[in-house]
């Protein structure tokens, strides 16, 4: 396995001058372009079709303190009319409005979750849209490690290429570890609920037997007293 390149800034500058190394410079520029631009996106998007009326919502249950990054674009299948617009609304589990945009064909929003719960993003077609064609919305929704800005990490720590890819893999492994811990705590919570329910079932069943006996004893006592009063016994 070959190792990554060792960067030598002085030799890079020296290589930029000559004609034979213009190719080197062009390649380097292309590489920097790949690293820093959005031409090759790292997360992919799902496409949804929006009916002319009605809302389409997607939601996700997210923990506290997680970065969420999302991008949306509208494509219309019907090219004869001017580009249709949609409205977007993103709400937090407690009902706070995180992002609200009307009359837009594309946009993006980013936030860090302050509370754990269900985050909802709703799209609907604006009333101004004429024509009955279906709209396609491309939603690029990234949370946690997928939303991490690797370009700034690469710039700050001056790493690139294979080292950057290995750093990304390391980030993925850390995310896996965090997810495991989260699943462990969720399982512990559920275990507590199960055991409480188990104890409740036992206690309530015994109590139900007790109430049955008490009620029937009271019945008998009352009827006996009643018949004695009526002088039937």
């Amino acid at each position: 396995m070959s190792a990554g390149p060792d960067e030598d800034p002085s030799s890079k500058r020296e290589g930029m001058g000559n004609g034979a190394n213009v190719r080197c410079g062009v390649l380097y520029a292309l590489m920097v372009l790949c690293l820093t631009s959005d031409l090759i996106p790292e997360g992919e998007a799902i496409w949804m079709t929006l009916p002319p009326s009605g809302t389409k919502c997607v939601s996700e249950e997210i923990q506290n303190n997680v970065v969420v990054l999302a991008d949306y674009v509208v494509i219309s299948e019907d090219h004869t009319h001017p580009s249709p617009t949609i409205s977007v609304k993103v709400t937090s589990p407690y009902g706070n409005n995180l992002h609200h945009q009307e009359n837009t064909t594309h946009g993006q929003f980013a936030f860090t979750t302050k509370e754990a719960g269900n985050y909802l993003a709703c799209f609907w077609v604006d009333g101004h849209h004429q024509g009955g064609g279906n709209l396609s919305v491309n939603l690029d929704w990234k949370t946690g490690i997928a939303a991490k800005d690797w370009d700034s990490v690469a710039r700050k720590e001056k790493i690139e290429g294979i080292e950057l890819e290995l750093r990304k893999l390391e980030g993925a492994v850390e995310a896996i570890h965090e997810n495991l811990l989260y699943l462990k705590t969720k399982e512990a919570e559920m275990r507590i609920v199960s055991e409480v329910t188990n104890a409740k079932v036992a206690w309530f069943s015994i109590m139900s037997l007790g109430i049955c006996i008490v009620v029937s004893v009271m019945q008998l006592w009352y009827l006996k007293r009643y018949f004695q009063k009526k002088k039937l016994i």
């Binding site: 034979a20 390649l27 997360g43 992919e44 996700e60 929704w141 997810n179 009352y222």
Partner: protein
């Protein structure tokens, strides 16, 4: 002079290698586990760039207030290729994993069909993974086998992450069932106690009426 030329030549080769490596490695796709409410049919589309990419994913029906779970067997799932052929289908399940190799590139359609009238919330995760294969290696002599190994490693990690998302969704569903059980235990037993007391009071009232003088005096 010669050493300088060699140095510049090797730098050129390294940059070309890096560029191709970056181009190929960045074509690994990822997605967050989104939930969508299925009333009748809900379709999600995903674009597969390379033919032969492995498309994997999972979905879980997050339990809502179903009274009897035997009444509701689950939902159907179909994956359709851009040509219109059904590539993968699962019927009547409350959650499952799926994986298939994309026969061609293009826009793939993943549909959830809910046969019942009550809307269901489905949490799904779809991942399209590409590993540069020997054909790409042979085409471009600057492509290093290390990029293939890194891509394989990344795919393995993505499969672990995918499994974790599935477990998380299943855990959420299990948690809802547990909460529902707890509520049912409390409410139903309290209702049972009240009904018991009520029915015995009604019994007493009825017996009293049987023995009362105003109704059928000589019947008892």
């Amino acid at each position: 002079m010669e050493r300088g030329e060699r140095k510049r030549g090797s730098k050129l080769r390294i940059y070309a290698l890096l560029l191709v490596g970056l181009l190929l490695l960045s074509f690994v796709r990822d997605l967050s586990a989104l939930s969508v409410t299925v009333n009748d049919v809900e379709c999600v589309y995903e674009y597969v760039i390379y033919e032969g990419d492995s498309v994997s994913g999972n979905f879980v029906v997050v339990d809502h207030d179903i009274f009897w779970s035997s009444d509701h067997p689950g939902i159907d799932f179909t994956a359709t290729s851009p040509a219109g052929n059904v590539v993968h289908t699962l019927k009547g399940t409350s959650g499952d994993k799926f994986e298939f190799k994309a026969p061609r590139s293009g826009m793939y359609k993943f549909c959830f069909h809910n046969p019942h009238s009550t809307p269901e919330t489905v949490s799904f995760y779809i991942h399209v993974g590409h590993i540069p294969n020997e054909h790409d290696l042979a085409k471009d002599e600057h492509l290093d086998p290390i990029n293939v190994k890194i891509a394989e490693l990344r795919e393995a990690l993505e499969s672990v992450i995918s499994e974790q998302k599935y477990l998380k969704a299943r855990d959420a569903r299990h948690r809802r069932t547990n909460e529902s059980t707890r509520k049912r235990v409390v409410l139903y037993t309290l209702g049972e106690y009240i009904l018991l007391a009520l029915s015995s009071a009604l019994q007493v009232v009825y017996i009293r009426r049987l023995f009362s003088k105003s109704v059928a005096y000589n019947r008892v």
